[in-house]
Amino acid sequence: MRLPLAIASLVVLIVHGVVFRNQFFHEWERHQAAYYEQARSMSKNDRERVELEARAPRIEQVIVTSFGDTRVDRCTTCHMGADDPRFAGHAEPLKAHPYSEATGDVQRNGRWERRHKFSDFGCTVCHDGQGRGLDTFYSHGEDEFWPEPLLGYVTQPNWRKDFGPKLKGREYMEANCAQCHTQEDFAGTPHVNRGRKLFYAMNCYGCHKIDGMSEGTLGPDLTEAGKKFKVDYLWESIVEPRANLATSFMPDFHLNQADVESLVIFLKSRRGVNFAETSLDRYKAHVANVAVVIPPGTAGEKAGEQLLGDRACTACHKLGDRDGGIAPDLSYEGLIRDDAWLGDHFLNPRSRVPDSIMPAFRFPADDFQKLSAYLESLKTPPAAADARTTFTNLCARCHGEKGDGNGKVAWYIDPSPRDFTKQGFLASKPRTRFIASIQEGVGGTSMPPWKRILKDDQISGVLDYVVQDFAKEPFKELKARNIPDENPVASSPESIAHGERMFLLRCTGCHGRKADGKGPNSLDILPHPRNFRNHWFVESVPDRRLFESIQYGVQGTAMPSWIDTFTPNDVGDIVNFIRSLQNARK
């Protein structure tokens, strides 16, 4: 027992020795000793020399309270020469902080004077890093958990190796300059300014909200992006949107490296309320933002085609061979939509397709006109082809190669594209209805009218192809159903009130209490339940169809038959209620 005891005691002794050595001989003390020695040799008078000799190593710190929470910056414990011009030529950590007119330093009588005095600003306000630490690894933020590593100097070990070199450079510190210098054209922050312009020019604002700048709701709020995320994460999120969230539908904007860097620096500067702002400033910016006119694009004077490229429309839409894979094909827009539709849709996409996810971009009216004019000019129909090719070229993008309603962009489209493999649906509807849907489109949805692109025989060819290849069941003679063509119940306040009661009793689970198709069950249902607030759709369907859907259900969807529950009068009241929602809207 004695030998192990002796060994263990020795271990205790050794560990104590190591710990005491670590605690009493610090790295920073060596730096300070070196500083005093060199300062002594450089000092010109004896008084200073004596003073320096009397100095013992100690922890130096600057306590800054003017910038947010109290900051304790002990950086000068190692960086002793930071404010000593004699150390300009020395190596780090004793090297003097450079003086520069760009940061506002001025030269008076041959002596530089700092604009940002270290005693007032500390170090971490501009540089980030961890002011309290006394050890290079932790105080420079090299430890992967520290949220603010030295901006532009330190890359943390868990960062992507392929970005690493791009995340270094003094320009990243502009993000901190912009905490106080919030002017949009501030000369000291060119990257932030450029990033801000890109934020508008690349339409980021359409999806992302930044308090006081934009109101987008599709993507994450970026108001505090600079506080929450490190530059590595920001860079990755821009160039590979799906790297962190596999379900993200943010498009890849194919930006060049300089643009990405500017955006990253701009986003890094978004840290919620800036030091220079009061909440009143923020409110004013928010109010002013309502009237923000987006600065005209670089090619404002050129044609809409150029504009369409500059405005990053094809980041989502398809046009010719450029395809963002999120939004509908614009290649034949001139044949599909008219000027009024385009104009309304540009100003507010939801005014035409109520469940569209397209943001309302605030371009100058002039730009919208040019864009509309360009889209109007796209009047070249595709070359005539057989039904299969036509389906692949025009329909598969939404309805899917296999006709299962699961095309490339289907996920982003609401109401969902129809699933043709559901035989019940096709078998229960007359052929004329499908022809009409293809020819005229479906109001309030992404299904466009194809009559000016496809000839009648092409349309019926595509329909035959769909029925044969996907539904695999020919049209049958439908059994005559006892359905009125017109609603037999006259609309009256009593009828509407009764219809609403019935609706609230039976329909809200899926269609929602607001009848907007977003009831609690709607998330699990594909296709999603109808939105009866979509007046373009509701007004395009006859009473007969509403009656049929309610009484007999819709095969191939989750809509059940209610014929045993509702009397024909109840159904009439419900139809009146649904119609009344559209009247109330006008």
């Binding site: 005891l5 263990a8 005691s9 205790v12 560990v15 710990v19 929470d69 630490g133 958990f145 949220p147």
Partner: protein, 420 residues
């Protein structure tokens, strides 16, 4: 000036005898050389009188106890020592706690080392207390007359877990915040009183300033006091239950045992009944605590502290990002000793959070009252106890498996990932 010649001699003698006098006034016994002195060393010293005068040889066998109870005690001593020193620097405030951690790591002398020691000792104590329980079970140590001490031991395990859990929040980093958020939501699954319990614990519906203050007070005042009290009773009961468990053979006194032969009954002791009456009943297979037991204790202590020191030198206690309430890590994991529960919670909130752990604790408490056989005491994995040991071992292994799965095999959204 009456006896000037006498004065210096007496003063000098007094001075010369001073150290010896001071020593003797504190320690009444000289270093023992006879059995009587060895015995009185144990009971005349405040710190040593917790020991019996003599202990059974079996108690001193390292392979029997593995010193686990002692290790747990010494870890607690280290924890109190380092904890009190850390308290000088810590502020239980959401705005200051994390900064204090940075100061401890970067600026305070020995700060990082104290924190490392405290952290690793705390983890170690949870593990060792658990192992101690396993040791007692596998050697049948909970059997009559030691039933109640087993119950106290289970209570001590729970208090240890809770102490470690309350300490987990104090650094106020992401690791702490989300581990406690997960841990307290597990408590919230308890039927009827779950939500109220969670609220009382947190002082709020989420982890915040109130929770930090409550956890701090529990951690530095309430729970240590409870633990010390329970430990005192635990130790006292060891003596009163007749020492540590040992094989039946060793427990029965030899026919002619007895260093102290008694001819008459002494005072109140005459009325003492039960298995712990020692008078005239001293087994001969015992040795004096001084120096045998004390050397063993010293050995365990030095071993424990050297291990903790080495670990603390090699590994820094984790300190993650400052708390960000809006940005939970994925996955957010409870402290490792609760990860088995979290794994179970991922299957069923009620059964994982309350049902199974509640049942396990209830069964643990009742073990000595369910298993009333008296065989197989004092032997590891005794044949007579095959069934009980198998059941217990299965439980232990299952527990460890779940903890390992929860710790190493669970990635974002609690999906199965391979750590390799």
């Amino acid at each position: 000036m009456s006896t000037p010649t006498q004065e210096p001699r007496t003063a000098l003698a007094t001075l010369r005898e001073l150290p010896q006098n001071v020593w003797n006034s504190i320690f009444r016994n000289p270093l023992p050389s006879t059995d009587l002195e060895r015995a009185s060393t144990s009971f005349t010293n405040f710190f040593l009188h917790i020991h019996p005068v003599k202990v059974n040889r079996n108690t001193l066998r390292p392979a029997y106890t593995m010193g686990l109870g002692l290790i747990a005690t010494f870890l607690f001593v280290i924890l109190v020592f380092t904890g009190v020193l850390l308290m000088f620097y810590y502020v239980p405030s959401t705005t200051q706690a994390y900064d204090r951690m940075l100061d401890l790591r970067g600026t305070v002398a020995f700060g990082i080392f104290l924190r490392n020691m405290h952290r690793w000792s705390a983890h170690g104590m949870v593990a060792i207390v658990f192992l101690h329980m396993c040791r007692v079970f596998f050697t049948g140590g909970y059997k009559k007359p030691r039933e109640f001490n087993w119950v106290l031991g289970v209570l001590l395990l729970l208090v240890t877990l809770f102490l470690s859990f309350t300490g987990y929040l104090l650094p106020w980093d992401q690791l702490a915040f989300w581990a406690i958020t997960v841990g307290t939501s597990i408590a919230g699954y308890a039927p009827l009183i779950g939500k109220q319990m969670q609220f009382v614990l947190l002082g709020d519906t989420t982890v915040g300033q109130e929770a930090l203050l409550r956890f701090y007070v529990l951690h530095v005042a309430v729970l240590p006091s409870v633990l010390v009290l329970l430990m005192a009773i635990h130790f006292w009961r060891i003596r009163k239950d007749g020492g540590l468990s040992r094989p039946e053979k060793a427990a029965s006194p030899a026919p002619d045992a007895g260093v102290v032969k008694l001819k008459k009954i002494y005072g109140l002791q005459g009325f003492v009944r039960g298995p712990f009456t020692k008078l005239g009943n001293v087994p001969d297979d015992s040795v004096y605590s001084w120096p045998n037991l004390l050397m063993a204790e010293l050995f365990v202590f030095v071993l424990t502290i050297s291990l903790i020191l080495v670990v603390s030198l090699a590994f820094n206690a984790p300190l993650e990002q400052p708390v960000n309430v809006m940005h939970p890590p994925n996955p957010a994991k409870a402290p490792w000793y609760f990860l088995g529960l979290q794994e179970l919670v991922s299957y069923s909130a009620f059964w994982g959070g309350i049902g199974i752990p509640g049942l396990m604790v209830a069964v643990l408490f009742l073990v000595p009252y369910i298993d009333r056989t008296t065989h197989g005491v004092g032997k590891w994995f005794a044949k007579e106890r095959l069934l009980a040991n198998t059941i217990f071992l299965t439980m232990v292994i299952l527990n460890i498996i779940f903890i390992v799965i929860g710790t190493f095999f669970r990635g974002p959204n609690w999906t199965f990932v391979s750590p390799f």
